[in-house]
């Protein structure tokens, strides 16, 4: 059994959605809780069982109320757990914290969360083991962590406990003081933040807060202060660099209490692990930033120790400190020192690569005392970073790829600034030389990683120095040489051309590169070309043909020389793939601006293909192109294709081209993806029903209840009997207006299941959907295997008036539990008496039989009028008894394929009783969450038993 759980839990955490599609969240949660309560299970298994609750609480607790119940359940497990199972108790606390926070119970201060808070505070204060063996200390530490997490997610939760927390922190001498310190600092920070949001809060409020005498009035304020809009602001870190604004609390210079508290926290910070120390430092930075009455100088005594550290997080916290206080804490000498320190750290032999890269990033976002730019997140060089200083970071061939590129980028920025003045780019010369060495490595068959690194470095170089023609021209030449020797690099070169064209719109370097590549391809001897090389050449020429500024005659000469039967065997071989590459080039030439001058040679090439190519399909395509070329005028060709060209993006252009003729007729099926959902399905009102019950009470069915049930059951021998539920939905546009999608045709809806509770659905076709016309009705026929609520993914393919075909995703469709209800299916002739007898027969069976059946009772307070409305609104189609018989309503829900839920609803003196019976006990959780929702909508008073 234990092994089975290990497997199941790991299956769950691998793919939670896949795992839950085989069962339901409710069922899995129930199983977990049962096993957790089981005394036979070992604690190591139980720890494992908690991990789904810790990692995916919201998947298992679908609603806040389920979360609340689960938390109560786990708390009772905790209460009964012997103190010696320390690990399990710790994990239980973590699971409870996760559930309460993620289901928002903690935020709404639910009963369970308040109880849990008390439990945590009790554990945190329980220092009875201080002279014992310390075995309970991990539980105390975990409790502090849970309190900190609760405070982090619900800021202000513990604000009025500041004094208590301060005391706990001070008296603890074991390593646990770290946990108390972390908690204390966070609560302090949040409390001060909240004060900054109060209008008129001043020094006396701060004093009261620290002393723990929080007035009731303020507490009430605090509750309301936690509105949603502020909620995420308080979660954010406040240190945003020089241009960020921090909310402030004006206290005047008199805040002795706070100052002494901060000093004591700082003085003990040395006792914390580097990670906790960094976090503490950051919290205190925030507090001091918010209270201008406390001078930042209180940090000064710690700075040297922090600046000399080998720990990345401590130095980082110090940099953030600098960002927050700039010249009120750091002189310009300090600044120069820190920058130098960063340069040293960026290349320190003892640090690992990610740390060094991080430091390099810190140099490019250095918190300067007097920044020139506005710190909008762009990389900028600090003024103090001289070329001399930066020379410690020149890239070398022994760097790994990431380091090399980061250094290349940094040095490019340095030399870009330097270039304006003084020595004509010695640094630039160095960078180019370095680029050349990288190129040599690629030339000497460097691995894939070398190739990628080289092209990225080349892009960087061009990005910064494209305007220095000396180098950019030389690079073009070298790239052409490289290409001739390594033709397989074609996709990298095309990518480089594309990216430089996109990013450097004012430069035409990439056109120059493509022109040069065209030349080397067309001028090189054809003799040793393999078909692989040839296909790369053709891809490259196709890219070249996209450039209107490049003359295409040499390309056409090349094409004609490779397909002329006398000079090459290509045509005779009839390679389909190569043929397509050739056609690809021709296709782009068809819309080339200089088509007029290309007309004859292009026609010749196509003619050659038509007559001599060895593949039928290629011949056909070539014939189509030939026809288009010879019969359509240039304007018409351009007109047909204008759409894509106007939008200017290469991607789109390719697509619309392909729509026309990429792969013949099949290209019309090229499907494009919409960016957002275009339409959705909404529940439509039910169709008006015919007469439910045979009006004349002539009763033709069997007389006796059990026999009637028997006869009723016989109907199921036909497997298709009452096995489907039909749901009506309207198909409507989602409001965002996009004229392109106003009129849609041939919509084909496709549904996919998210679990295994239903049979697969067939596709549904809708002829058209117009924005201004009434929405078409779609009938979804669901065939349940188990009648559980479910969610369906939906997607659609449709056509727009311009002939394009689109694929879109619809918002998910949620099928609620009550949507799976059907009325009882009996022959019409049985009349009301017959259905009543079925009801009675089933009721008796369910109450007596064990099996899967179960009974239950739900009570609530409803006035008679409210009850009547409820029955009419929700139960009418399923009502078995007469509506006028008010003393007891009998309701029967049939849930395909074979389940029933029976209700007897009666008003007793104290409350309305819903007696529930079902032949499928697994449906009980659903009905017991369904009933409260419908009854509470009738009446707000509600109590369930």
């Amino acid at each position: 059994m234990a092994a089975n759980w290990v497997e199941r839990i790991s299956a769950f955490s691998r793919t939670p959605s896949g795992f839950l599609s085989g069962t339901t969240a409710e069922a899995f949660l129930a199983e977990l809780l049962r096993e957790l309560r089981d005394d036979r299970a070992t604690y190591s298994v139980k720890v494992l069982l908690l991990s789904p609750l810790c990692e995916h609480p919201t998947l298992l607790c679908c609603s806040d109320s389920v979360g609340e119940e689960t938390a109560l359940e786990l708390m009772s497990v905790f209460a009964q757990c012997p103190p010696k199972s320390v690990q399990f108790r710790c994990h239980l606390l973590l699971a409870l914290t996760s559930i309460l926070i993620c289901t928002k119970c903690a935020k709404s201060r639910s009963c369970a969360s308040l109880d849990f808070l008390d439990v945590l505070l009790q554990i945190a204060q329980d220092t009875s083991d201080i002279h014992g063996d310390g075995s309970q200390r991990p539980v105390r530490a975990t409790a502090c962590d849970c309190l900190r997490e609760l405070e982090a997610c619900c800021p202000g939760l513990l604000s009025h406990r500041l004094e208590l927390l301060a005391g706990l922190r001070q008296q603890e001498t074991s390593r646990l003081h770290q946990a108390y310190t972390g908690l204390h600092a966070l609560v302090l920070r949040n409390a001060v933040y909240q004060l900054t949001q109060e209008t008129g809060a001043g020094p006396e409020h701060l004093k009261a807060l620290l002393g723990g005498n929080v007035s009731a009035a303020w507490e009430a304020d605090q509750e309301s202060g936690l509105t949603n809009s502020k909620h995420s602001a308080i979660l954010s870190s406040l240190i945003l660099g020089p241009m960020g604004t921090v909310p402030t609390l004006h206290t005047g210079p008199d805040c002795k209490e706070l100052r002494s508290l901060l000093s004591s926290l700082l003085d003990e910070s040395y006792l914390l692990t580097p990670l906790c120390q960094a976090a503490l430092l950051h919290r205190l930075t925030e507090v001091v930033a918010m209270v201008p009455g406390v001078p930042p100088a209180i940090f000064r005594t710690h700075l040297l120790r922090l600046l000399g550290t080998s720990e990345v997080c401590l130095l980082h916290a110090t940099l953030l400190l600098k960002g927050a206080f700039t010249d009120s804490l750091f002189s310009s000498e300090d600044e120069a020192f820190i920058l130098k320190r960063l340069v040293v750290l960026s290349q320190h032999p003892l640090l690992n690569t990610p740390e060094k890269l991080f430091y390099m990033d810190c140099i490019l976002h250095f918190p300067e005392n007097r920044p020139i730019s506005c710190g909008d997140g762009d990389e900028t060089l600090p003024v103090l970073l001289t070329p001399r200083l930066a020379s410690a970071l020149v890239p070398t061939l022994f760097n790994d790829g990431a380091t090399l590129l980061a250094r290349f980028n940094l040095l490019s920025l340095v030399y870009l600034e330097e270039g304006e003045e003084g020595e004509e780019g010695q640094g630039l010369a160095y960078l180019y030389e370095h680029l050349t060495s990288l190129l040599c490595i690629v030339e000497n068959r460097g691995g894939r990683e070398h190739v990628v690194t080289f092209f990225r470095a080349a892009f960087l170089f061009l990005y910064y120095f494209c305007h220095v023609e000396r180098y950019s021209t030389a690079l073009t030449k070298q790239l052409c040489q490289l290409y001739l020797h390594h033709i397989k690099l074609a996709p990298h070169l095309i990518n480089l051309a594309d990216q430089t064209q996109d990013r450097l719109s004012e430069s035409n370097w990439s056109v120059g590169l493509l022109k040069a590549l065209q030349r080397v391809i067309t001028e090189a001897p054809l003799t040793q070309l393999t078909s692989q090389d040839l296909s790369q050449h053709l891809k490259m020429l196709a890219r070249v043909a996209e450039e209107g500024d490049i003359l295409q005659h040499s390309t056409l000469n090349f094409l004609s020389s490779i397909i002329t039967p006398s000079s090459s065997s290509l045509c005779a071989n009839g390679d389909w793939r190569l043929g397509n590459y050739i056609l690809g080039v021709c296709r782009r030439l068809l819309i080339h601006p200089s088509l007029d001058s290309l007309l004859t040679p292009l026609a010749d090439v196509l003619q050659l293909l038509v007559c001599h190519y060895g593949d039928m399909e290629i011949k056909d395509h070539a014939r189509l192109y030939y026809t288009l070329l010879t019969t359509l005028s240039k304007e018409k060709l351009a007109g047909v294709l204008a759409q894509g060209v106007e939008e200017g993006r290469r991607q789109v252009k390719k697509q619309s081209l392909s729509c026309l003729m990429d792969e013949g007729l099949t290209s019309m099926l090229t499907i494009q993806q919409t960016e957002k959902a275009v339409f959705r399905l909404t529940e439509a009102p039910p169709e008006p029903r015919g007469g439910d019950v045979n009006p004349n009470e002539a009763e033709k069915g069997p007389d006796e209840a059990s026999a009637t049930v028997e006869a009723y059951r016989d109907q199921f021998s036909d497997s298709s009997f009452a096995s489907e539920i039909t749901l009506r939905y309207g198909l409507i546009h989602i409001s965002a207006h996009d004229a392109l999608f106003d009129q849609l045709f041939s919509i084909r809806l496709h549904f996919s299941l998210t679990d295994h509770h239903y049979e697969e659905l067939g596709d549904i076709s809708v002829p058209c959907l117009f924005r201004e016309r009434p929405s078409p009705i779609v009938h979804l026929r669901l065939k349940p295997k188990q009648p559980y609520p479910t969610t369906l993914h939906a997607s659609a393919i449709f056509t727009t008036p311009d002939g394009r075909t689109w694929h879109t995703t619809l918002p998910d469709i949620h099928v609620a539990f009550q949507q799976t209800f059907l009325p009882l299916s009996v022959p019409l002739s049985w009349g009301r008496g017959g259905t009543l007898r079925v009801f009675e027969g089933l009721w008796d069976e369910m109450c007596s039989e064990s099996g899967d059946s179960a009974v239950s009772l739900f009570c609530c307070q409803l006035t008679e009028a409210a009850l009547n409305t409820l029955v009419e609104k929700h139960f009418l189609p399923f009502l078995v008894s007469d509506l006028s018989l008010k003393e007891e309503f009998r309701v029967l829900f049939f849930l395909p394929p074979r389940s029933h839920i029976l209700l007897r609803v009666s008003s007793e003196e104290d409350a309305v009783h819903f007696n529930i019976a079902t032949d499928n006990w697994e449906l009980l959780p659903y009905i017991s969450s369904y009933l409260p929702t419908i009854t509470s909508s009738q009446e707000d008073t509600l109590s369930s038993l």
Binding site: T97, S236, L275, G308, H348
Partner: protein, 473 residues
């Protein structure tokens, strides 16, 4: 200051990839959702995450020459923070995914972005990034040990205890500490009295009081034997206490050091050295953790390399004429623990006849690897100079190893040596200067050693890799 999730992945050069451990921190995810608002991107399930991560790391589709997503030349600062492009219903960019990898393991975590997500904040604004890096590095050391070869059985057993380790060091996504390598800490006996115990001290030391101070200097060198190119060498050190020595620079200290003098920190290798720098003694007051630790590290610039070499190759018909000279500097103690020279030859056929003469030491020839290993042993001869000369023909039947950097006459000699009881900078720890404030009288042991790393002597007749160090500006 928290992470949303943690993943540990094992692979063999991009093959047989699997997630060995993963942990999501749901409460942090909850915060991420409210912090990011509409730009929130959920963490995808394991398999999707893995696929996206491998693509970003350039490890996917290893058979394919070019994959657009993986090989795009557009420069994005990928490391140390990757972007994962999540597709499908919850599509968007998951950032910043931190990774560290060593050998067969990739460790990844996703720090919480706790500042407004638009426009994207720089990494330097997120404290959670450096915290994540520290956590990952700590886990890596815990799982693989520092350096040396990872053993797969040890890895399995350490992965198995990871859940209870995480309970201590990162229970709810906020990293509190890094796991201690080796045995899990026994709960410490509480200390009576009012003095607080440092959180990084795991317990009380039992046994003899002993202070062991080891000083290791490591020397790197690039020698070109060429007038136009400056030879380079520098020294860096893993040490404990350095007093009275030559100027030490770039000092980094362990967090257990309680206070520092500003004069110790100011010397830096990126400054012009003006001779006026502080030259000791360097004092570090600290309260030591129980396990061995690196108290501080420094770099230093020494005027000459310990071993000056010259390497010359000449191509002659079908063979290569080799000439190597190594000179030990007089200030260096002539007593090695070991000293070897490696001479690899790349991009040639396997070696045929090797005819070499040397003035000292033995030669081991590995024909499959095209490698000469010159074992110099414990001592240089009296003259402090050794030479090796001879010819190699590469007439073997099969091609030898390839290297894209060392083509034609670009070749190097790599020196590996270790000299006990000496440092190049002259830095040392005086036994009597170690002051211990403790009731127990500890024994104090100090040691020194010099070792080489990346010590290359390039062939002066070929083109040495051009960009191999600082340029003169």
């Amino acid at each position: 200051m928290t992470v949303r999730g943690l993943w540990i992945i094992s692979h063999e050069k991009g093959e047989n990839v699997s997630i060995r451990f993963s942990r999501r921190f749901s409460t942090v995810e909850h915060r991420a959702k409210s912090l990011a608002g509409s730009s929130y991107v959920a963490v995808p399930e394991e398999s999707t995450f893995l696929q996206l991560l491998l693509t970003e790391l350039g490890l996917s589709d290893s058979g394919k020459n070019y994959v657009a997503l993986r090989d795009d030349c557009l420069y994005r600062p990928r490391s140390p923070a990757l972007e994962l492009h999540v597709d499908g219903p919850g599509k968007g960019i998951l950032w910043p995914v931190l990774t560290v990898s060593q050998g067969p393991l990739i460790l990844a975590c996703l720090p919480l972005v706790d500042v407004p997500p638009e426009p994207r904040p720089p990494l330097a604004n997120l404290l959670s990034v450096s915290q994540g890096l520290t956590l990952l590095a700590g886990l890596q050391t815990f799982l693989l040990g520092s350096g040396s070869k990872p053993d797969s059985e040890g890895l399995v057993s350490r992965l198995a205890v990871l859940p209870s380790v995480l309970l201590q060091v990162c229970p709810l996504g906020t990293p509190l500490d890094v796991p201690l390598p080796g045995a899990p800490a026994t709960p410490a006996v509480p200390i009576s009295g009012t003095q607080k115990q440092p959180a990084w001290k795991t317990g009380l030391h039992r046994g003899r009081a002993l202070v062991n101070v080891g000083l290791i200097e490591t020397v790197r060198s690039m020698q070109y034997g060429n007038q136009s190119r400056q030879d380079l060498w520098d020294v860096y050190v893993t040490l404990s206490l350095p007093p009275n020595g030559s100027p030490l620079q770039d000092i980094l200290v362990h967090p257990c050091v309680t206070s520092l003098d500003s004069s110790i920190l100011t010397a830096s290798s990126v400054d012009n050295y003006d001779g006026s720098a502080f030259s000791g003694p360097y004092k570090f007051p600290f309260s030591p953790p129980l396990e061995p630790f690196r108290l501080c590290s420094y770099t230093s610039q020494v005027p000459v390399p310990p071993i000056l070499g010259s390497y010359q190759l000449k191509e002659e018909e079908n063979q290569l004429r080799v000439s190597v000279t190594l000179k030990l500097h007089e200030s260096v103690k002539n007593s090695f623990e070991y000293c070897n020279a490696h001479l690899p030859f790349f991009n040639r056929n396997q070696m045929g006849v090797v005819d070499m003469k040397m003035s000292s030491g033995q030669l081991e020839v590995s024909k499959e690897k095209n490698l000469l290993l010159w074992v110099l042993g414990q001592k240089f001869p009296k003259s402090r100079e050794v030479t090796m000369e001879g010819k190699i023909s590469f007439s073997g039947p099969a091609p030898g190893p390839l290297d894209p950097l060392c083509t034609d006459l670009t070749a190097y000699v790599k020196l590996n040596f270790k000299v006990p009881d000496m440092t190049l900078s002259g830095c040392c720890v005086d036994q009597h200067s170690v002051q211990v404030y403790s009731s127990a009288k500890p024994r104090i042991v100090t040691s020194r050693e010099l070792q080489s790393k990346e010590y290359y002597i390039w062939n002066s007749t070929g083109t040495a890799p051009v960009s191999s160090g600082q340029m003169t500006m």
